[in-house]
Symmetry: C2
Subunit: 320 residues, 2 copies
């Protein structure tokens, strides 16, 4: 019989796939990481994921049928209702792949697909900085910018069940063009590649070099980072006035490397708001790091499986 | 016995208060309009509203106890949970007034308070351009800019049950200062006073004169309206990527007077989005006009009253 005490979590990004067995208290019992290499095709990816799943189960001595199911967080756009991936930008070659039906077939477990930012948001809501926040927005800043809105522990869904794209909110009329169709969206201003590109014009090779220069009080860094700070502040102002969340959690590789920079920029927005004064929303860096998406996806599978089976047998998150 | 077939709707704005008896099919059976004059104080306003309520009931020959209750849509910030108004900007002198308890006391009916944009959004959802849209965002443009997010016919609420402020989303880094605490928010760029102020620098006396000049192909009008168009497009892009609604309804006095201008600017955002292509979200001007807030507030009272009494006896909205 399926048990809601463990589930498989899979986090699919543009460069790597993380696969793990997760317990209902959030512990990762075993995990593996594969290169994504989406261009090698769908059948190849399904085979490699299936093998990795069998391996992690063996590593922690659990049977496939001891799992509540499989939660997949995937770099979007994805359609959680149909199970299809449609992301030619970071997962080329997989357009229209129905990962839910292919993994259900090979592994004989129920599979739930969500956007990777939503999965990370769920991870933070259940086990990290988002605990106790009935209105939670998470922004992740790395190679791209993702966003999740988690309302009472449920993923906010737009029309057709699909997820919004907070990373592509408009910030500046002067920014460079983004694949989303707009110039000056958030991602085009604050993601790693944007910081790197701005840094290179001043002889700083990448985003890490920009932040290192900032630490060394190199004036070039401030030239790059002032517009980034301003964009983060505008984005958080927008989130605050659009969703009025109890908490805004900032995660992703860049925030993990430079939490103070991002949290301070975000806090400036909250401090400046007269309509939603500062006591309303709190800002925190994410706690779970990279595994957030995998852990959140697994937790989602537990919750969905329990909902299929009857009243949930897993405890609600505790306030921090 | 209370019946959910009729309710009182009250729409409180900075300059006037509309009060009406509304039937469950959205018809306004009788209505009155009073000047707000909030500075005359709370007791004075309560007395005048109470008298007007008695008058409209008499006008349509219905008894107070034939009403499901009273829905109040009020220019925010307001707190729907506590019943308090806290809007020193457009309702000075009423800060901290608990309109729910004072009207409940004088009229012996249950009272529900909501933000006026939320009330208008409900009106459009049940009886206007929002029918059938499970994810609906309404933006109202007039003296100020308001916003409502209606999810499956329920008002989206932020932390503490309070409403977000879509009118104060950040649009431009160069805009003038707003009472919200930010320069270049949506309201500071597209509301009537903002258009009027920009027009006056070119010898156009007010917003109506600006739009009249545009109709006469006066080049000064385009100078004023180009940044307004750009701001509307950015705002709708933001709404689309933050909420991924099925429909965006544009209302308020300025949109009512110039629907094509606003709908075209909004449509440009939807057309330009590559992540949420145009088939996803539709843009419509509001249908109900000024009474939307009063009608929506009354409909909300019917729904809430029915929820108190048992399963709702009123029909779900039909798709357009």
């Amino acid at each position: 019989m399926n048990s809601p005490r463990h589930a498989l979590g899979i986090d699919i990004g543009g460069t790597k796939i993380a696969i793990g067995v997760v317990a209902s208290d959030g512990r990762v019992l075993a995990s593996q990481t594969l290169p994504t290499e989406s261009r090698r095709g769908i059948r190849d990816a399904t085979d490699r994921v299936t093998m990795a799943v069998r391996q992690v189960l063996q590593d922690c001595g659990l049977d496939c049928h001891a799992m509540a199911g499989i939660g997949v967080g995937c770099s979007g756009p994805v359609n959680p209702l149909s199970g299809e991936i449609n992301n030619p930008h970071t997962l080329p070659g997989w357009e229209g792949w129905n990962i839910v039906s292919s993994l259900t077939r090979t592994l004989d477990l129920p599979v739930w697909l969500e956007n990777d930012a939503d999965a990370a948001g769920l991870g933070e809501y259940y086990y990290g900085s988002g605990r106790g926040a009935d209105r939670l927005v998470m922004l992740t800043v790395g190679t791209g910018v993702g966003g999740a809105v988690i309302l009472d522990g449920e993923i906010y869904r737009g029309v057709g069940g699909e997820h919004p794209e907070l990373g592509h909110m408009p910030i500046s009329f002067d920014g460079s063009a983004c694949y989303c169709g707009r110039n000056g969206c958030l991602e085009s201003l604050i993601a790693g590649p944007a910081i790197a590109a701005a840094g290179r014009t001043l002889g700083l090779t990448d985003a890490a070099a920009v932040f290192a220069a900032a630490a060394a009080s190199d004036a070039r860094a401030e030239q790059v980072l002032a517009p980034v700070r301003r964009a983060v502040e505008a984005a958080v102002w927008n989130v605050l006035h659009s969703f009025l969340p109890a908490r805004i959690v900032l995660g992703g590789g860049l925030v993990e490397a430079h939490p103070a920079f991002f949290v301070e920029a975000a806090q400036a927005a909250v401090n400046g708001s007269r309509l939603h004064p500062r006591r309303v929303a709190t800002i925190f860096p994410a706690q779970l790091g990279n595994p957030a998406g995998m852990v959140g996806a697994a937790r989602w599978a537990m919750a969905r499986s329990a909902r299929l089976a009857g009243p949930p047998s897993i405890s609600a998150p505790q306030p921090t």
